[in-house]
């Protein structure tokens, strides 16, 4: 097995350039690659498009800022494609002020669009959103008497995912609900960087227990 390069969070952040579509794993901060997020803030990342379940939890009074929230606060995103912003008033402020373009996507549709991108599909047909604002501007198809929306695949330039454990080949194992969007994003981007808590030798992970096969992973970052 070929070993994947192990890089620092700062080196991972440097793989991103202005205008990139960045897919960030995590669900309200659970399973978020926090060291890389911190490094992106430090690097002054700008003009990115975020793809993530949400924009994290941000509560200034309680000193909480998780998931992509530190990047939102640093105004790193010109566009955010997410399912939920209710726990981040800063995202709502930027949206209302016209400072950033927030595109809300149903969570299951977001997952399936990412999965489609990683699986060589142009898009998916889903009943979710039929008869709502979500169907505006989309093609609607009727198959066997049921209405579906055509939702296009959503690929990215760089995926930052978070795993519990990796071997040096890049096979990943996630923990509990920290899995969420991480495995699908790892399939959908040109460059995939995995932040991991534990890095083990090749052979130390039972092949039957691998969640993300090493083929999807380009770089490994040890969580700091």
């Amino acid at each position: 097995m070929i070993e994947k390069p192990v890089i620092t969070a700062a080196e991972a952040a440097a793989k991103v350039k202005a205008g990139d579509v960045v897919q960030l794993g995590g669900f309200l901060g659970c399973g978020s690659p926090d060291s890389i997020v911190e490094a992106l803030v430090a690097a002054g990342a700008k003009d990115l498009t975020l793809v993530c379940n949400d924009t994290g939890i941000y509560n200034e009074a309680k000193g909480v800022s998780n998931g992509p929230a530190p990047l939102v606060k640093a105004k790193a995103f010109k566009t955010m494609i997410v399912s939920h912003i209710g726990t981040n008033p800063e995202t709502q402020r930027q949206m209302n002020a016209g400072e950033s373009d927030v595109r809300l996507v149903p969570q299951g549709t977001l997952a399936e669009r990412i999965r489609a991108a990683g699986n060589g599909l142009g898009g998916v047909l889903t009943p979710t959103g039929v008869g709502t604002e979500v169907e505006e501007g989309k093609r609607k198809l009727t198959l066997n008497g049921k209405d579906y929306l055509l939702e296009e695949a959503l690929p990215g330039d760089v995926a930052f995912v978070k795993a519990k454990k990796a071997d040096k080949a890049g096979n990943l194992v996630y923990a509990k609900t920290a899995r969420n969007f991480n495995p699908i994003m790892a399939t959908a981007c040109a460059v995939v960087i995995a932040e991991v808590e534990e890095l083990v030798e090749i052979g130390a992970i039972d092949p039957d227990q691998v969640h993300t096969p090493s083929i999807f992973v380009d770089y490994i970052v040890k969580a700091e």
Binding site: L28, I57, T109, L110, V130, V134
Partner: protein
């Protein structure tokens, strides 16, 4: 003269009685989460959480929180024996694929056509739909849980929703703190009422068309 007093517990208590052992249930944030506390003894439901688990357990003791184990609201939870974890695509495959028996959601407005609005008040509150649109479109039965009246006195049950819809024609059951309704043929059908309210009071205090079911009875 009956005075309306908000009572979320009766809503949670009644909804919990719909479940049979083995049912897979997804509970939304807020009032729907309370339903989990009232599942009758002897009934074992399996809670699905859309962030990627089945077998959702209660909140952990203080100090035993696991940063890698949260519910769809980002709060620490536990997992019951036999539970399992999966990614978001599998989670919504379970949901859209019709493998969830009941989804219980909160309400901004629900109408007699089975339309639900619960994710957006344009210009005021735009938190995003999260998983709600998929849950409502994909679950076998959709239960809308809501207090009956707004603070202003107008009913949450409408002839037609004005707010942006979460889904069209998907709500099967509406449980408020005055009674439980099914949605049938473009009307709410009152199936049970909760004392001290009477069917007459409910019809009078609902801004929608209600049919009192022939077998309508008081819930005890």
């Amino acid at each position: 003269m009956i005075e309306y007093v908000e009572n979320k517990e009766i809503i949670a208590r009644r909804i919990a009685r719909f479940f049979a052992s083995g049912d897979v249930v997804n509970l939304g944030i807020g009032l729907p989460t309370m339903v989990g506390n009232f599942v009758p003894e002897g009934v074992t439901v399996v809670l699905q959480s859309e962030n990627g688990m089945m077998g959702l357990g209660p909140a952990p003791e203080k100090g035993k929180e696991d940063k890698d184990l949260t519910n769809a609201g980002g709060m620490p939870v536990t997992v019951l024996d036999g539970g399992c974890f999966f990614d978001s695509a599998v989670s919504f495959g379970i949901i859209r694929g019709g493998h969830v028996d009941f989804t219980v959601l909160g309400v901004l407005e629900v109408d007699q056509e089975g339309n639900l609005a619960n994710y957006k008040i344009p210009g005021k509150m735009v938190p995003g739909m999260g998983g709600a649109m998929d849950l409502v479109a994909g679950s076998k039965k959709v239960i809308a849980a809501t207090t009956h009246l707004e603070k202003s006195g107008s009913s949450k049950l409408k002839r037609r929703c004005v707010l942006p819809l979460t889904a069209a024609h998907e709500v099967d059951i509406v449980v408020t703190d005055v009674g439980y309704f099914t949605v049938k043929d473009g009307k709410f059908r009152l199936e049970e009422y909760f004392a001290p309210y009477t069917p007459e009071w409910i019809v009078e205090h609902t801004g929608a068309d209600i049919v009192v079911a022939p077998g309508c009875k008081e819930f005890r």
